[in-house]
């Protein structure tokens, strides 16, 4: 029970605010980036971490969940975790200079980099990094101008879930939730957050190519208006939006919702509950939005050596397996898949399926300066938020 509550919290908080970006990959930095550490010195004996709930468990919440004590014993670094409830909170905490490490989501990571709050990382000092999935390396939310600023923790996609009995034929496109003439009007659900505008943008990338959207988080005036219009149209066929993941579970169980966006975790709960709800969760042909978090080291870190050691520890095969399985996401380490408690975990979350994640656009904070490099003509997140108020009406 406690586990499930914590899971709800962590999933809710983490996923709601976990935002990350994708863009054409930059070249991999082979050399030590300027300003990065060249060697790991003696551990400082302590480590201050800002993290999402459920990411750094030392057994104090549940004795069965402990992937930190072994690190403390090995390195002598006493880990102290401060939970960040939102990306804004994490960003503010990292400004204080009192923390060494942060599990930054896509909306925080680029802000932290541009504010100079985090330092470049010498990946050669993190031996486990070589085992990280290629699809997570060198992404715009963790690497800027070829300089890496952190190591990936895990990833997940936002999927299209549908009730297999109510929704026939089986959909393979988001059209089923965007078509105003959808036969499932009134039973369609959507995620209640401004970031959901990106889902509409992903749909428009395929169905309205003349708009020229290349990155669903970089929308200029026209593209943004098209996405907002699509969502206003969708409002008419929405039964209810969901914000709490338990609400979506209940709505699918009761049949109030039969089709809409979801997380893999929710699909697993529905399929695993007794009696199981007949649902299927797919990555539609248009692709989808998703998220990925990054461990970053403060530029004012008091314990940088412990920080490097911890980054190596948290992405080590067994630890990454435990942490991402607990949270409900695909691990970052390729070797983790053999070590999860549920042998099917990686299959369920498509961890090794790069073709699957190629179609996933990781959450990123929309900024005025377009993320796809078109200049300062894009709508920023404040405008996305105001538009969301308009969409909901």
């Amino acid at each position: 029970m406690k586990g499930s509550i914590r899971r709800t919290l962590s999933a809710g908080v983490g996923l709601t605010l976990a935002l990350a970006a994708i863009a054409p990959g930059a070249t991999l930095a082979q050399d030590v980036p300027e300003g990065a550490m060249t060697e790991i010195g003696a551990p400082e004996g302590a480590l201050e971490i800002v993290a999402w709930a459920g990411y750094v468990e030392d057994g104090s919440n549940d004795p069965a969940l402990d992937w930190v004590s072994s690190f403390e014993e090995e390195t002598g670094c006493q880990v102290n975790v401060t939970l960040g409830n939102t990306s804004d909170e994490m960003f503010t905490l990292m400004q204080s200079g009192n923390y060494d490490l942060v599990s930054a989501s896509g909306d925080a990571s680029n802000r932290l980099i541009s504010a100079g709050s985090v330092q470049p990382i010498n990946l050669a000092l993190i031996p486990n990094y070589v085992d990280v999935f290629e699809g997570l390396k060198n992404k715009p939310h963790n690497t800027v101008n070829g300089v890496p600023y952190g190591v990936p923790h895990g990833r997940g996609a936002n999927l299209l879930m549908y009730n297999t009995e109510a929704v026939t034929p089986a959909p393979d496109s988001w059209s089923v939730v965007f078509d105003p003439a959808s036969p499932y009007a009134g039973k369609v659900t959507a995620y209640d957050s401004p970031i959901y505008i990106a889902d509409a943008a992903v749909y428009l990338m395929t169905h309205n190519p003349e708009l020229g959207i290349t990155n669903p988080y970089a929308l200029d005036e026209t593209q943004f208006a098209a996405a907002v219009d699509l969502l206003k149209q969708q409002r008419a066929i929405i039964g209810r939006y969901w914000a709490l993941y338990t609400d979506e579970i209940a709505a699918f169980q009761s049949g109030d919702s039969v089709v809409g966006t979801t997380w893999q975790v929710i699909a697993n709960v529905l399929q695993g509950s007794e009696p199981a709800t007949p649902i299927e969760a797919i990555l539609p042909m248009e692709g989808s939005t998703g998220w990925s978090d990054t461990w970053m080291l403060s530029s004012m870190a008091q314990h940088p050596n412990c920080g490097y050691l911890f980054m190596n520890h948290i992405i080590s095969p067994a630890v990454n397996a435990a942490a991402t399985e607990y949270f409900g996401e695909a691990p970052a380490n390729t070797k983790s898949c053999a070590l999860t408690a549920d042998p099917n975990h990686c299959d369920t979350y498509h961890a090794t399926d790069e073709a699957y994640f190629d179609k996933v656009y990781y959450w990123a904070t929309p900024q005025k300066e377009c993320l796809d490099g078109r200049g300062p003509i894009c709508k920023d997140y404040a405008e996305w938020t105001m538009a969301w108020t308009e969409i909901k009406g």
Binding site: D88, P194, R240, E369, M386
Partner: protein, 298 residues
Amino acid sequence: MTTTAGTAPHASPSRRLQAWLYRRPRLQLVLLLALPLLALVVAYLGSLGLLLINAFWRYDPTTGGLDRTFSLANFLQIAGSAVYRTITLRTVGLAFLVTITCAAIGFPVAYYMARIASPRVRGLLVVTILLPLWASYLVKVFAWRAILQEQGVLNWLLRPLGLEGPGYGDVAVWLVFTYLWLPYMILPIQAGLERIPSSLLEASADLGGRTGMTFRRVILPLAFPAVVAGSIFTFSLTLGDYITPTLVSSTQFLGNVVQREVGVSGNLPLAAAVATIPIIVMLLYLFVARRLGAFEAL
């Protein structure tokens, strides 16, 4: 008894201070009230003032910080967009609905408590009404979630009768608010009804007024300020709440917009500007309430 040294009590500094203060009653009052007043002015009015100042600033998306130049842009944006009017009307409408429902349910209960129930029953009723107030707000809303959900208690009761509960949605918001704020309506009305002298009712009866006439012409006018006083609570509490709508519906009210602007995009200035809407509505409400004599009934 003996007046030996005699100086012992006077020598104590605290005694001397007491004597000194005794001769300065105004200073005593200042010292007594300074701290709470300071807290009220600085912490309460100060933060409210800061909020209002924020409304005239702008959110700067490039830095994520504030652009501290005076501007009416936030207000113009709100005024220029139909959605804020819709949300304001929806919120105020809900607040009125909840208030009226609370008054309709609360008045008979308060009347029974004030004028009919024996002291023992009255004590029991007061405790029963106060009891939910002592429970956490969130516990109560989550309890309502359990009641209203598809597989919940309400549907379990209604299904054998071939009926269906309202589920989550606008009706749920109305029900939960009514439940949450009902005690704030009952208690002022009860106090108001208790203050009506029995002699007036007897006089009405002596003059031939029947029950209905006495109620309409004597009790209701005298108790009305108390109803208005109670309505201030139910109205203002509904106006500002965003947690209940989030938990039992996906409809947005003013509080939800404020919460999203602050919590999701960090646009404090726009949130502050939206927050001035309920403040203005409430000031108008209080003005009318004062004219109706509600403040004497509090």
